[in-house]
């Protein structure tokens, strides 16, 4: 019977399964309701679900027009974000996909400009034959561009007077009116636009791959940051942090102090520490085979959250997971994180945040109260305590906002960054026209 009961409750697994068979609109509504019901939560699950959904949306979208594609992804994205505005990764993934489409469209155009420039600058209305030629050319350019998601800086060809002059124009006209695009837009015809879609799909697949590998990539930096005989303090059952510590534990001996993050995550934390994780959490399920730190001979001390300040003086480094990272470097992380970061500041203990780039959001926190979700009051005080329930209001914030100045270093899958450098990563990953899509 357990097999049926596992399959029973809808979640990420059932959503991904149904994605293949259901019509696209059903899948969108399905994800929206799953997000609303909090049946898909945690940044990674949300990101994965969004990426797979957008993959479906794009492959089902039969349009050959980049602008239409963008519009479609935007409308889906808006609905997803409205369903659960506090899961910022949903918006991040949507923005990245939008960025991909724009990049492809522009690359195409640029490649085309190259060609028309190289061929005959005086004749924009090139006949059909060289146009086919341009296809293969543009394909090659795109192939080389894909490896980094930024626009190619090293490529010598586009940096000509013509392209410099023409560059602002397509960028401005792209989102709204494809028809008003430069003559080359018309000339491109069918085949190259089809190519865009295939390229975008490939890009989305890369994002999905990135989501799968991100923890391992981050863990690769572990040995640079964790040294022998250090005392590390951490918090929550974040798999990213666990993998990071495990990687270091393979080579070095150190001590981990683990705050239990009561009441919203203590059970998972206990399970992580003792290695009995039951796999109830869908992200953990694949990693639940993983040995706990104690199996590698690391001393792990589980402490209540209230003891953090008392122990902070002995801690060498604080390593934190997070729910999302905002554009200014501030974190939205599990409740209790801010207290830890604050205590670390008092003791001048370095605070390191490990987080995939996909959690990095271009949103600037003007009103961070609205970013914080309030959860089930019953976890703080038993609902059966009737007198209390009647008399008091219980607040159970799931997240804390941690200001950037409390954090010393961010480690993402791209490497370590100082808080002041984050803006650069944001601008690399998200196009500014997509920030408020």
């Amino acid at each position: 019977m357990p097999s049926t009961s596992v399959a029973l409750t809808p979640g990420l697994a059932s959503f991904l399964k149904s994605l293949k068979t259901n019509p696209i609109d059903t899948s969108i509504d399905n994800l929206i309701s799953l997000l609303k019901r909090r049946q898909i939560r945690h940044s990674r699950s949300c990101a994965t679900a969004t990426a797979y959904l957008l993959l479906r949306v794009i492959s089902a979208c039969r349009t050959t027009d980049a602008a239409k594609l963008i519009e479609r992804v935007q409308s889906v994205g808006r609905r997803l974000v409205a369903a659960q505005p506090r899961e910022m990764v949903v918006g991040n993934i949507v923005r990245r996909v939008l960025g991909l489409i724009r990049d492809e469209a522009e690359d195409d155009r640029e490649a085309d400009f190259n060609l028309s420039e190289a061929g005959s600058e005086s004749q924009p209305q090139t006949p059909r034959v060289p146009d086919d030629h341009s296809d293969s050319l543009s394909g090659r350019f795109e192939g080389s561009d894909r490896s980094s998601s930024r626009p190619p800086l090293s490529q010598p060809a586009p940096i000509t007077m013509f392209s410099l002059l023409s560059h602002p124009e397509p960028e401005a006209s792209l989102p709204g009116t494809p028809a008003s695009a430069s003559p080359s837009g018309k000339m491109l015809g069918h085949t190259p636009s089809k190519d865009i879609r295939a390229e975008v799909l490939e890009g989305v697949n890369e994002i999905i791959d990135e989501l799968g590998q991100v923890d391992d990539q981050i863990a690769a930096y572990a040995l640079d940051h964790i040294h022998s005989n250090e005392i590390i303090l951490t918090h929550t059952s974040s798999t990213t942090v666990q993998k990071f510590l495990l990687k270091a534990a393979a080579k070095r001996k150190f001590t981990v102090i683990h705050a239990e993050s009561y009441p919203n995550n203590h059970e998972a934390t206990h399970a992580t520490v003792s290695g009995n994780s039951t796999g109830d959490d869908e992200i953990l399920s694949t990693e639940s085979f993983q040995k706990p730190l104690i199996a590698l001979g690391i001393t792990v001390i589980l402490i209540p959250d209230s003891a953090v300040f008392a122990l902070m003086s002995r801690v060498n480094k604080v390593i934190l997971g997070t729910h999302s990272v905002l554009a200014n470097g501030g974190l939205v992380a599990s409740a209790g994180t801010r207290v830890i970061a604050r205590a670390a500041k008092v003791h001048q203990t370095p605070v390191v945040v490990v987080s995939g780039v996909y959690k990095l959001s271009p949103v600037y926190p003007f009103d961070f109260d609205s970013l914080i979700e309030y959860g089930d009051a019953g976890k703080v005080i038993g609902y059966e305590d009737g007198d209390l329930v009647d008399q008091i209001d219980v607040q159970n914030p799931l997240y804390d906002y941690v200001p950037a100045e409390l954090i010393d270093l961010y480690i993402t899958n791209l490497g370590g960054h100082a808080p002041s450098y984050l803006y650069r990563i944001v601008s690399d990953h998200y196009r500014k026209e997509d920030i408020n899509f």
Binding site: G375, G386, V389, D393
Partner: protein, 704 residues
């Protein structure tokens, strides 16, 4: 059980049949056949009443979707048209609905028992299913309960039902305060052994009657009164057949649960409990619970079922500090004060210096200047005039309250009423504008209550049509907002049962104080019917049956009417069984009534009188019983003839019965007796002839 499973198996239902074990079915009882939400339920089905601006049914369907249910059967009751319309327009009907199938079933049922029997007849249920009422609010993932239910059922197929109960301590706002269900549980097996409801208002029933057998045969017993019964039951198809077998059960707890547990020796079925300690589960059983659960939702005890989850498409609530939920497009005057635990819907405007706290405001409400709202529930489109105070009251859709009014705690203003300026609506008053068919005429607006220019009249529930056979608990006599004056009735909306229910027992005194008696009376009917039925089946002689019946009756101090009810239900069940076994209807009737004539005769005491209330009552009971049986009309004809031949019932009684309005009160009742018409006509003719003979011979008619 036999026919059920055959029926379920034979019915191939497309995609669902592929994975019979996987598909989880649920039955939603959208109508619970109670009138605790009157006067609101006069206009709208109860499950569409808004709780924190979302209709109740949404929470229930959300719960089922969370639980991974795929097939839903929705039973509508009163106003089922409105409900069907709502459901058809909702997201649950769209392609993306989490339910593979959402079937709306209409029925003429008048109790939960009827619904279950109807469902049994339809053979829709293929495996384990969940029964919930249309007002359950829960964030409980059901799989734990389901897994333990399935494990138990694999081990023992007599474990037919698992009830989900929420632990709630001694005092709790969400628990009903007037009655408390008491579960006696064997904690080693989670098995429920006994169930009873204690009515706190009645002095004489503050005790439990536990069978000594239970105490002797179990090592450990938990007697628990601290549980919220949220009426989420996981059932096997056997449950339906049990309902069908026990034709007199109407309520799921007080009768069905009690009965099945009591008859454990007979049927061997066990019922289990699944006690939840850390999720939210409750049922909006009455207005007091409505108030409590609204507070729970606003204080996020039911997370993620909160207003800012925006269950309904189109809602866009956002959480602000202090549990203030506000939609976009709200107009707040600069000087108004919005306190904690408040919900404000789109398009609502609040005037200068108004104070609002602990209040739910629907969409497009207009709140004037200097208004004070405290603990009020203001539904969509209501207008509250300047300077008015509303405390702990419900103001329904499109109500207009004038300026400088005071609406005192516990007042209920139903849909579309209008209150003139400077009126005071005193505590616990219910004002409605609905047309009630039972009333002699359309009640006019009562200016005493609503003032000059107002619309509406005071709603007074009928005290006399309370039906003792209904009401799963007298809980609803619970007080809305702790006000002693405002007790809620628990009567059934069933016209049929309420009309035939002035069964003898005088229901004087307050409703709550007779509660305890009724329990015993009901139990008597059930016990006696079972005992007589068993005797009939075993072909015991009528003397023995009579003896047993008399002793039962003495112990329970039952009324004549109760005895007749018991006898009728036992006889009819046996007859139905004989007919099913292949006997002709007439023969079956003759066999039973011929052999056990004495028993019937000794329950009638009006042989010598002109008016024949007892005989008429017997006929009515028979007729009512036959409404639910197949070929009831035929059987009734045979019965009438046989009873006449056996001289159990006199011609006068037939006439009085035929003329009695109760016998033709509903379409079904009329239909059942249609066949008997010829017989009654023949009787009347015969009598005329006889009366002409009577001139010659006075004695003859007496003999006849």
């Amino acid at each position: 059980m036999g026919p059920k499973q055959k029926g379920g198996g034979a019915k191939q239902r497309g995609n669902a049949a592929d994975e019979v074990e996987e598909t989880l079915q649920a039955v939603v009882l959208a109508d619970t056949f109670e009138t605790r939400f009157e006067p609101f339920t006069l206009d709208k089905p109860r499950c569409l009443l808004p709780l924190a601006n979302t209709p109740l049914i949404e929470y229930t369907l959300e719960f089922l979707a969370n639980a991974g249910v795929e097939d839903v059967f929705l039973y509508g009751g009163a106003h089922s048209g409105q409900l069907e319309k709502y459901i058809n327009a909702s997201k649950w009907r769209s392609l993306s609905s989490p339910f593979k199938q959402l079937t709306f079933l209409k029925s003429t049922s008048t109790s939960v028992g009827d619904v279950m029997r109807d469902l049994d007849g339809k053979h829709l249920i293929t495996g384990d299913f969940i029964v919930v009422s249309g007002d359950v609010i829960s964030n409980l993932p059901i799989e734990g309960a389901l897994a333990s239910h399935r494990a138990r059922r694999v081990a023992n197929k007599d474990a037919i039902m698992t009830m989900v109960l929420r632990e709630a301590g001694r005092n709790h706002r969400t628990k009903s305060s007037s009655t408390s269900p008491v579960f006696i549980i064997d904690p080693t097996k989670d098995r429920c052994l006994h169930y009873e409801e204690i009515d706190h208002h009645s002095s004489d029933s503050n005790r439990l009657n536990i069978d000594t057998e239970i105490i002797l045969s179990h090592q450990e017993l938990d007697i628990r009164q601290d549980l919220i019964d949220c009426s989420i039951d996981i059932c096997t198809p056997d449950v339906l057949s049990l309902w069908s077998d026990s034709f007199d059960y109407q309520t799921p707890r007080k009768q069905f649960l009690y009965g099945v547990l009591k008859d454990y020796e007979l049927n061997g079925k066990t019922i289990h409990t699944y006690i939840v300690k850390d999720y939210y589960a409750a049922r909006v059983r009455n207005l007091k619970a409505y108030d409590a659960i609204s507070k729970d939702i606003l204080s996020r005890w039911a997370y993620p079922l909160c207003p800012d989850t925006n269950l309904l498409p189109g809602h866009n609530y956002e959480l602000r500090k202090g549990n203030l939920y506000q939609e976009q497009g709200v107009t707040l005057a600069r000087s108004c004060v919005i306190g904690r635990r408040t919900v404000i819907g789109q398009g609502t405007s609040i005037g200068d210096k108004a104070t609002v706290k602990d209040t739910v405001l629907g969409r497009n409400c207009k709140i004037g200047k200097n208004v004070t709202l405290d603990g009020a529930y203001i539904w969509d489109g209501a207008v509250i005039g300047d300077g008015t105070t509303v405390r702990h009251a419900i103001v329904a859709d499109n109500v207009q309250v004038g300026s400088n009014c005071t609406v005192e705690p516990g007042a209920l203003l139903s849909f579309g009423t209008k209150i003139a300026d400077s009126m005071t609506i005193s505590e616990g008053k219910r004002i409605t504008n609905a047309y009630r068919e039972e009333e002699d005429g359309v009640p006019d607006t009562d200016p005493e209550v609503v003032g000059e220019g107002g619309e509406g009249y005071e709603y007074i529930p009928y005290e006399d049509d309370e039906d003792e056979s209904d009401t799963e608990s007298n809980a609803s006599s619970g007080l809305v907002y702790n006000m002693a004056q405002l007790s809620l009735s628990t009567d059934s909306i069933s016209t049929l049962s309420s009309e035939t229910s002035d069964y003898g027992i005088s229901r004087s005194g307050s409703f709550s104080s007779t509660g305890g008696d009724e329990d015993e009376q009901d139990h008597f009917v059930h016990d006696a019917a079972t005992s007589v039925y068993d005797s009939l089946r075993d072909d015991v002689t009528s003397d023995v049956v009579q003896l047993e019946l008399v002793s039962l009756r003495m112990t329970a101090n039952a009324s004549d009417n109760q005895v007749r009810r018991a006898v009728v239900s036992a006889f009819m069940k046996r007859i139905a069984q004989l007919i099913e076994g292949g006997k002709a209807a007439g023969e079956a009737v003759r066999q039973i009534f011929g052999k056990y004539r004495e028993i019937v005769e000794r329950s009638l005491f009006d042989r010598e009188k002109d008016a024949k209330p007892d005989q008429v009552d017997l006929l009515l009971l028979l007729q009512q019983d036959l409404v639910h049986r197949s070929r009831g009309d035929m059987v009734l004809l045979f019965l009438a003839k046989e009873l006449y031949d056996l001289e159990i019932i006199d011609e006068e009684a037939y006439e009085q019965w035929w003329d009695d309005e109760r016998s033709s009160s509903t379409e079904e009742m009329r239909q059942v007796r249609s066949q008997t018409q010829q017989f009654v006509e023949w009787l009347a003719n015969a009598e005329e002839e006889e009366s002409s003979e009577e001139d010659d011979d006075d004695e003859e008619s007496d003999e006849e």
